[in-house]
């Protein structure tokens, strides 16, 4: 952990204490005005952290309790492990991740010239494996890819998200925005209905958050596992009985840019813990 990360951890532990005093029951829907959420709330933008129960937040904040760190440690090992026909490791090219990867997660997804389309972190990792290491790409939702993604993103922990949506990324951003606003599924709902119009409201037992991306990959208690942002997209699609798109599809990567941009200014908090 870098010094900056430690400071961030201490800060959030302090906030948590305050939060506990002010809220009482963990699931009491909070309008965000009574609590100083510190870095987790920037103007009207609120991380899913601020809608999570106190126990879930405490679990996220403590590295030894946060189950996602098991995946992250796997990623840390893989960072050093040579693989592929080129017999190289991530570290051979990038050295110390604490330095070389700091800030990277704040910028992704990026527009990638060679592809003429967007690339997210998972896709970058697999691009490195295929072209640099001459190794097989890692499967989506494998512990290895989740672990490496969590490890890379964690190097930007506490840094504000700042994805670019202008220039060559603009048309992809527009497609992501259109996806976000389009009704789909048997229940005929768009992302906006739940995460914009009803943030903070209960939908049965769940408090709807703004659906921010800054904590992914996330350990979800319901999954008993870490999962990617695209897994969450698939879940939200299925819940409204809409046909999901494949992991890593252009549709979801464009959507990822739009959803990530909604959180520009919020800190990277991967790996988060959610209900």
């Amino acid at each position: 952990m870098t010094t900056a990360n430690k400071a961030f951890g201490l800060l959030s532990a302090g906030l948590l204490g305050l939060g506990l005093l002010a809220t009482g029951p963990a699931n009491a829907a909070d309008d965000g005005t009574r609590i100083d959420w510190g870095p987790y709330k920037v103007d009207e933008k609120r991380s899913g952290y601020t809608y999570a129960g106190a126990q879930t937040r405490a679990m996220q904040d403590d590295e030894f309790q946060n189950p996602a760190f098991l995946w992250l440690e796997r990623g840390m090992d893989l960072w050093e492990t040579a693989d592929g026909a080129a017999n190289t490791s991530c570290a051979d090219c990038h050295g110390d991740a604490e330095e070389s990867m700091a800030g990277v997660a704040t910028r992704y997804p990026i527009y990638f010239d060679d592809w003429g389309k967007l690339m997210n972190i998972e896709q970058r990792i697999n691009w490195c494996r295929e072209t640099q290491m001459q190794a097989e790409p890692l499967k989506w939702e494998s512990d290895a890819l989740l672990g490496l993604t969590a490890f890379v993103k964690n190097q930007s922990k506490g840094m504000p998200i700042d994805v670019a949506v202008d220039g060559p990324a603009a048309p992809f951003f527009e497609q992501g925005k259109a996806f976000y606003e389009t009704r789909r599924g048997q229940l005929d709902l768009a992302c906006t209905h739940c995460h914009v119009d009803n943030e903070g409201n209960l939908i049965r037992a769940e408090t709807l958050s703004q659906g921010q991306a800054n904590g992914f990959p996330t350990y979800r208690l319901k999954w008993q596992s870490v999962g990617s942002l695209h897994r969450r997209f698939r879940g939200c699609n299925r819940n409204i009985r809409a046909q999901p798109y494949p992991y890593g599809s252009d549709e979801y990567t464009n959507l990822e840019l739009y959803v990530t941009w909604r959180g520009n200014g919020l800190p990277v908090e991967s790996p988060s813990v959610r209900k």
């Binding site: 409201n201 939908i203 009985r241 809409a242």
Partner: protein, 157 residues
């Protein structure tokens, strides 16, 4: 006159394939909206059963009305709040008005978050296995309308 004309999928496909996409599909009963705000005629000949209607309203795979509405159903713990509370709704609306509000609330408010429970036309990317099926069948709609008509008390207890 009671309307009870279930359009079979085959008939819809044959008869309408050449024209615009079939307006309604298997299991969707034809109904008439009157003056843009009510469906006065029941969708089925069997009168709605309020006891069953209450069950469909709770059932997460059917009405799941509680995901969005608070209702006088104290044994269920979590009531959503994305829609208005339904206490006393049977006093505010007529049976026909409630029927339209469940069959196709978007006929009243095109921006509504509430699903159209008995309409399949115009849906986008429906999950495999749910295509061309309404969320609730005609009898379930009638049962829920009958149940909502019993909600006469606007107070919460």
């Amino acid at each position: 006159m009671v309307r009870h004309r279930t359009i079979l999928l085959a008939a819809a496909a044959l008869g309408l394939a050449a024209a615009a996409p079939p307006a309604q599909a298997a299991g969707v009963v034809e109904y008439a909206v009157v003056d843009g705000y009510t469906i006065p005629e029941p969708l089925t000949e069997t009168p709605g059963d309020p006891v069953m209607g209450r069950k469909w309203a709770i059932n997460r795979k059917l009405g799941n009305c509680l995901s969005c509405h608070q209702m006088p159903i104290p044994e269920e713990q979590f009531h959503g709040e994305t829609g208005p509370a339904l206490y006393g709704v049977g006093d505010v609306y007529s049976e026909g008005e409630l029927r339209l509000r469940i069959v196709d609330p978007k006929a009243l408010n095109p921006y509504s978050m509430m699903p159209s429970f008995h309409k399949v036309a115009g849906l986008n990317r429906v999950l495999d296995g749910f295509e061309n099926k309404p969320i609730l069948n005609a009898q379930q709609i009638e049962d829920i309308v009958a149940y909502l008509m019993t909600l006469k008390d606007t107070s919460r207890n």
